[in-house]
């Protein structure tokens, strides 16, 4: 081995190890983003069928992301609206939603994690929702609260963010 290559070998190995560690041990924000992606993929059909077992699996994946006392207050232009309280209500609503909108597609963007401490976090994001029914996609901003329990992050609250306060 050439002397230059030998000199570069050790720093290269250290940098590679650091990158590997970064992948293996994600930051809290990365953990939160992974929970978001899991929830998104569970809600979104993404070409999957909504038959019995597959539907159950998707709903199961979604509930794994939620606290038992999760609160959901959703009011999206185009008809998706409702207040849900507790994981059982969410489970029932998610199953109904998947059957009502089998082509439901959700994409997440502009994810911002804030107020992050050891046990809680606040996330704002923009969800682009396509129900597969008439009309184009609807973009809606959401605010989510996360809670950490036994080392894992869970969604404890979801609420739509409206640009204007009406009265």
């Amino acid at each position: 081995m050439r002397p230059t290559a030998r000199r570069l070998l050790i720093p290269g190995v250290i940098v590679a190890a650091l990158i590997g560690l970064w992948w293996i041990i994600p930051s809290e924000e990365q953990r939160i983003r992974r929970v978001l992606e899991q929830a998104r993929s569970a809600v979104s059909a993404d070409g999957q069928t909504a038959d019995g077992l597959a539907l159950l699996a998707r709903v199961g994946r979604l509930t794994q992301c939620l606290t038992r006392d999760v609160e959901i207050q959703v009011d999206v232009f185009g008809g998706l609206s409702g207040n849900l309280s507790g994981v059982d209500e969410v489970r029932a609503a998610a199953a109904g939603l998947s059957q009502q909108f089998p082509g439901l597609t959700v994409r997440l963007g502009e994810i911002q994690v804030g107020d992050l401490d050891s046990g809680s976090a606040r996330v704002t994001l923009v969800a682009t929702i396509e129900t597969g029914a008439k009309g184009g996609p609807t973009a809606q901003e959401f605010e989510l609260r996360f809670r950490k329990w036994e080392g894992r992050w869970y969604i404890s609250k979801v609420a739509t963010v409206r640009a204007l306060r009406t009265h």
């Binding site: 963007g109 502009e110 923009v126 973009a139 809606q140 901003e141 640009a163 204007l164 306060r165 009406t166 009265h167």
Partner: protein, 179 residues
């Protein structure tokens, strides 16, 4: 750099790409980057969708938003502004009618600011038998320090179908450039 013995550069080449093409290319790239960054920071192109700002702005029109307009100034009454609706790309286009600290209500379609009727020349006279403004009613609201009351110009539509209300200062992106 050119040497005294180098053949002279033809005038057309000097006009087109300069004496030193490489330097010209670098300058051009820097200029393009600066223009692009400046444009992104100061101007946002928008496509008007919906009917809430008719007749001033119609569905499908293209306009530009000046994102620097409120960097050193505050929105004033009558400004047509862009309000962040969902992320950075989806904006609401509305007109400012109420400013921080003011009391506002709407009685039978007339906007009252601190009890005084507001002149709204941008509203059209009655069309198709529908009065513009129609007879909307909104209970009195007192605007806080960072709140602006915004509404569309199309007051001939049903009040329930028109999305209007109080916008926080931090959601206001900029002012429409070409009203």
């Amino acid at each position: 750099m050119s040497q005294p013995n180098d053949p002279p550069v033809p005038w057309w080449q000097v006009m087109a790409i300069g004496r030193n093409p490489r330097t010209t290319l670098v300058r051009l790239a820097i200029t393009l980057v600066l223009v692009f960054v400046g444009f992104r920071m100061s101007i946002q192109p928008i496509l008007v969708q919906g009917i809430s700002m008719q007749p001033t702005y119609r569905d499908g029109q293209r306009r530009f938003l000046n994102k620097l307009a409120y960097r050193f100034a505050e929105p004033i009454r009558g400004d047509v502004i862009g309000i962040r609706e969902a992320g950075k790309q989806v904006l609401l286009l509305k007109r400012v009618i109420g400013l921080p600290g003011e009391r506002l209500r709407i009685v039978q379609g007339t906007v009252l600011i601190n009890g005084e009727p507001l002149e709204e020349p941008y509203l059209l006279p009655p069309t198709n038998g529908v009065r513009n403004p129609a007879r909307w009613n909104v209970a009195e609201v007192e605007l806080q320090g960072d709140e602006h009351y915004v509404i569309g110009d199309n007051r001939s539509m049903r009040q329930d179908d028109h999305y209007f209300g109080i916008a926080s200062r931090n959601r206001i992106v900029g002012r429409l450039m070409n009203p």
